[in-house]
């Protein structure tokens, strides 16, 4: 499941050291490219846990279903709040669905 | 060093000796030039005074030629240089606006090439005879230094490059406070009296320094100071009698080039005294 890096948006986390996606990826799949932007070294090895998408402060990452098993170009975009998360789901025909729920703390 | 050479109108006429002397020394200095047959007038100061469109159009032809040949453009006449340089800046401005790299090579004037592309050291290596004992007064005029000074780095008020070149020949360069003043050439055919007055001012100051010759790098300056010297003497009611050489001619002498080939015989104000000194040592 290839995570897509938007080279425009990505700032390599200022290329201070490891960008956040590199730090967080459970599969050790991200590195900092020569261009000082995040690079996924082996997209086929991704487990699409979307940790990188959630953590990226620049909104530069997107998880895609490989075309072999999913049509172009549906999107699933998480937006992290302090104690809740929203998901925007766009299917291949552009139909939009939205989800929002608490992911931390009490539910009331 | 290879350039696309743009002569300009005067160089084929009143400044013939400028071109001759340049072409005579170019090989010795390792300068190669290729001259397009079909060049057109740059518009001098006239085009800009009449029509923006015209002024902006005229230089384009040569710049295109330079781009095609992918050679830097060399002009001997500072006025032509100015017009082409300004045109180039305009082109590059909208190129950068489109963020596309410039396809146009630089435009150079004589002093850029001698003083910076080649450089004094390089020239010194090639000089063969010394002009020691000659006092030379360098005169830049306007357009060689304004608005684009030689090498882009030279001072506009107190340039030194001609002094350096003169020193190479063994001759003594005198420092000339009025070296960047206007000779009035641009007014010759409209306000002759003023023109002569300005040139007169320069020659008068020049005489204070009792030089063996003036050295210039501009056809118009040369025409005013050399060609018009008699007229000026008449206006001032006093004799000046200073031969005026092109820097190329002076270098030519130091390169041991025969002065006929340098077109020195074409001077109006006789250089005999100067040449006498020169042949003596």
């Amino acid at each position: 499941m290839p995570p897509k890096v938007d080279r425009e948006k990505c700032d390599g986390c200022k290329a201070e050291n490891e960008p956040l996606c590199e730090q967080i990826c459970p599969g050790d799949l991200f590195t900092l490219g020569e261009d000082k932007k995040a690079r996924c070294r082996m997209p086929r090895d991704c487990w699409d846990c979307m940790s990188c998408v959630k953590i990226c402060p620049k909104g530069a990452l997107e998880t895609r279903v490989p075309y072999q098993i999913g049509y172009h170009q549906a999107k699933l975009i998480p937006l992290m709040g302090t104690n809740s998360i929203t998901w925007t789901l766009i299917d291949l025909n552009g139909k939009v669905e939205r989800f929002h729920y608490i992911n931390r703390g009490s539910l009331d | 060093m290879k350039y696309l050479y743009y002569p300009g109108c005067s160089l084929k006429g009143t400044a013939r000796d400028f071109e001759e002397s340049f072409k005579a020394i170019a090989p010795d200095l390792g300068i190669e030039i290729e001259e397009p047959g079909d060049w057109g007038c740059c518009g001098a100061t006239v085009a800009k005074s009449l029509s923006k469109e015209l002024a902006e159009r005229l230089p384009l032809k040569t710049l295109e030629q330079a781009a095609k040949a992918n050679r830097e453009l060399l002009t001997l006449c500072p006025n032509c240089y100015l017009n082409h340089q300004q045109a180039l800046d305009r082109l590059r401005k909208d190129e950068t606006a489109k963020a596309s790299p410039s396809r146009f090579p630089d435009v150079k004037q004589l002093l850029d090439v001698l003083g910076f592309d080649l450089g004094p050291e390089e020239i010194k290596r090639r000089l063969v005879c010394s002009l020691a004992g000659i006092k030379v007064l360098p005169y830049y005029g306007c357009l060689t230094v304004r608005p684009f000074p030689p090498g882009g780095t030279e001072s506009r008020e107190n340039p030194q490059i001609m002094e350096k070149l003169i020193a190479l020949t063994g001759a003594k360069p005198l420092s000339f406070p009025d070296k960047v003043d206007c000779c009035g050439g641009g007014l010759l055919l409209t306000k002759e009296k003023v023109a002569l007055k300005l040139a007169g001012r320069i020659l008068k100051v020049a005489r204070r320094y009792a030089p063996d010759c003036l050295v210039v790098a501009c056809p118009l300056c040369h025409f005013m100071l050399d060609g018009k010297q008699n007229a000026i003497e008449r206006e001032l009611g006093e004799k000046i009698r200073i031969p005026v050489l092109y820097i190329t001619q002076l270098l030519g002498l130091a390169l041991g080039v025969d002065h006929i080939r340098l077109g020195i015989n074409r001077l109006i104000t006789s250089p005999r005294g100067l040449l006498g000194k020169f042949t003596r040592n």
Partner: protein, 585 residues
């Protein structure tokens, strides 16, 4: 790329860390173990070795939508009833009832800890945890992993991220810590610990995944693909006793995209149907409990439909309302978000069409089945000083999130008890040098080396196991000869590991992952060969011994001799502590 300029052995720095308690794997069990240890004895130095980044590592990286075991006392459930159910789920076992009971007693407490830490757990109107099914409670667990990690760290555990365990550090027959490969800094880490807990995930990628080929995704798996069984491997190589590896876990998943089915089936009562629209369980397996039939059967049933020509198979989601569908997908977003994306990118509306299902590849996961280390009641393995918890510890299936957490705590208590009065020997120089050489050899061979890449060997192993050791392509069926063949091939592969090379540290990690997989595969094959019967159809189907053999109503154990490398297989008997019909939950 990043090989930190390592070209010779001397370039490799060694980092020696002394600690009281070393926890290998900062997952569910690991975090709880650390928290327990630190809160029981704050003076203790507790260290976690984590292969990835603790806040989003391992099986729960994406989150969780449910805790599959919680004892609702108000509904009359008890630890014992949990044991009975778990036993029945395995068709009567054998299971380690002592372990399961001790787990069950602390289970609820652990779950309540999670809620207190900030994990949102859905409650019903009476304020009880909302059930879906008999034991499962719904959570909004997108943050499950970060929450556990933070607590472990707040408690004061020292975490070493991006350090992958490569072997145990031994003093004679005693475990005194472990070695780790610094995946980022290229160092060899030597953790010297009075006690060590293996709390790693299970083994994924031993078998080929049915969705791997031609899908551009190598990791369409149920288990986290970065859990490769290293936890077992290091024990196996050190001569620890392993139990019940043959009790493989295979899950029924959505086809073409290894999406969760339990959420749909258990959580939303969507039934499995076949191509003809017949209810598979109710119609054909009523005698075995129908929908309530043991897990391995619920896996095997649809696959049988395929074999017998009634495929394809589905879970029937069509009678869900659109609200339910949304609610359902919300749950999925918590566990496997990309499955929701998968549905959207294929324009599937589950209320209009059923979701196709198919079996996954087999895994070794002690949190779900009984595979893993043989441990005593304190969760100490047969190697003194080495404890195991969660997916790593065998004998107590159906632990899942809550159980693994609990076992982490139990193991921690055991370890604390053990390490009192234990002292640390000096770091064994020779052992360190040997390990350094072993670990970094593939990197030192360099990227230009004419050899074998980790991926090549991994894929060869996976195909081998799939076809000869009862993978999905064979509908999980196997027979003696195929297994023997597989074993022979695995030995060849093990010999070939000397050709593995790595051009950077990530490669090096992959290399050791495949080496670990081989260690697990070898022992696994011995287990499969030994159980000459078919006890858990689907999970373990022997075509040459299709029946249950009453003589094998016992645990199958193995121990690999660290010196000779020879694997000894033997049995341990089953003890029933909770009375009652073993097949009835």
């Amino acid at each position: 790329m990043e090989n930190k300029g390592i070209t010779t052995l001397n370039d490799i720095k060694t980092e020696i860390i002394e600690t009281d308690l070393l926890i290998i794997g900062g997952g569910n069990a690991g975090c709880f173990a650390a928290y327990e240890a630190k809160t029981q004895n704050p003076a203790l130095k507790v260290t976690i070795m984590e292969k990835a980044q603790i806040s989003r590592s391992g099986a729960t990286a994406a989150g969780m939508d449910a805790i599959n075991t919680y004892i609702r006392e108000d509904r009359g459930e008890t630890p014992e009833s949990l044991v009975r159910w778990g036993r029945a789920q395995l068709g009567g076992g054998p299971i380690r009832e002592d372990l399961v009971l001790s787990n069950a007693e602390l289970l609820n407490e652990s779950v309540e800890m999670l809620e207190e830490w900030g994990l949102p757990i859905v409650r019903d109107d009476e304020g009880y945890y909302k059930l879906r099914g008999r034991w499962d409670i719904s959570i909004q667990g997108e943050q499950l992993k970060p929450i556990m990690a933070e607590k472990a760290m707040e408690a004061g555990a020292q975490v070493y991220n991006r350090v992958a365990a490569t072997n145990l550090l031994m003093a004679g027959d005693r475990c005194v810590g472990a070695f780790g490969l610094g995946v980022r800094d290229g160092k060899l880490y030597v953790f010297q610990a009075k006690a060590t807990i293996v709390a790693t995930g299970g083994a994924c990628g031993i078998y080929r995944s049915p969705v791997t080929d031609y899908t551009g995704s190598h990791h369409q798996t149920w288990m986290c693909p970065f859990n490769v069984g290293s936890g077992y491997a290091i024990g196996i190589r050190a001569g620890a006793e392993m139990t019940s590896l043959e009790q493989r876990w295979v899950a029924i998943r959505t086809k073409d995209f290894c999406g969760p089915v339990d959420t749909l089936a258990v959580g939303y009562g969507c039934l499995m149907i076949n191509g003809r629209g017949e209810k598979i369980m109710a119609d054909r397996y009523a005698h075995l409990g129908g929908e309530k039939a043991p897990r391995f059967l619920r896996l095997n049933a649809p696959m049988t439909e395929w074999l017998e020509g009634r495929a394809p198979t589905y879970v029937d989601t069509t009678r869900l309302s659109s609200e339910e569908s949304k609610e359902l997908r919300e749950d999925l977003l918590n566990e496997r978000p990309s499955f929701v994306l998968f549905l959207a990118s294929n324009g599937i509306d589950i209320t209009k069409e059923p979701v196709e299902i198919f079996g996954s590849d087999p895994y070794i996961v002690g949190g779900h089945t009984g595979s893993g280390y043989w441990v005593d009641i304190k969760r100490m393995s047969t190697i003194p000083g080495l404890f195991a918890a969660g997916e790593a510890a065998g004998g107590s299936p159906n632990k899942f999130v809550g159980g693994c957490a609990t076992e982490g705590r139990i193991a921690a208590r055991g370890a604390l008890e053990y390490l009192m009065g234990v002292s640390l020997p000096a770091p064994p120089a020779d052992q360190i040098d040997r390990e350094k050489e072993r670990v970094f050899a593939p990197l030192l061979r360099g990227g230009a080396f004419d050899g074998v890449t980790a991926v090549e060997m991994e894929e060869r192993l996976q195909r081998l196991m799939d076809e000869y050791a009862g993978g999905v392509s064979q509908f999980y069926r196997m027979n003696e000869e195929r297994l023997e063949h597989a074993l022979k091939q695995v030995k060849v592969l093990q010999d070939q590991t000397r050709y593995l090379f790595a051009s950077d540290l990530h490669d090096l990690l992959n290399v050791h992952e495949v080496i670990d997989r081989l260690s697990v595969a070898e022992v696994l094959l011995h287990h499969l060969i030994y159980r000459k019967e078919t006890r858990w159809e689907g999970w373990q189907t022997r075509m040459d011994y299709p029946e249950v053999n009453p003589d094998l109503d016992c645990f199958i154990e193995s121990r690999r001799d660290p010196l000779s490398g020879e694997v000894k297989v033997f049995t341990r008997s089953y003890e029933q502590l909770v009375a009652g019909d073993r097949t009835k939950g």
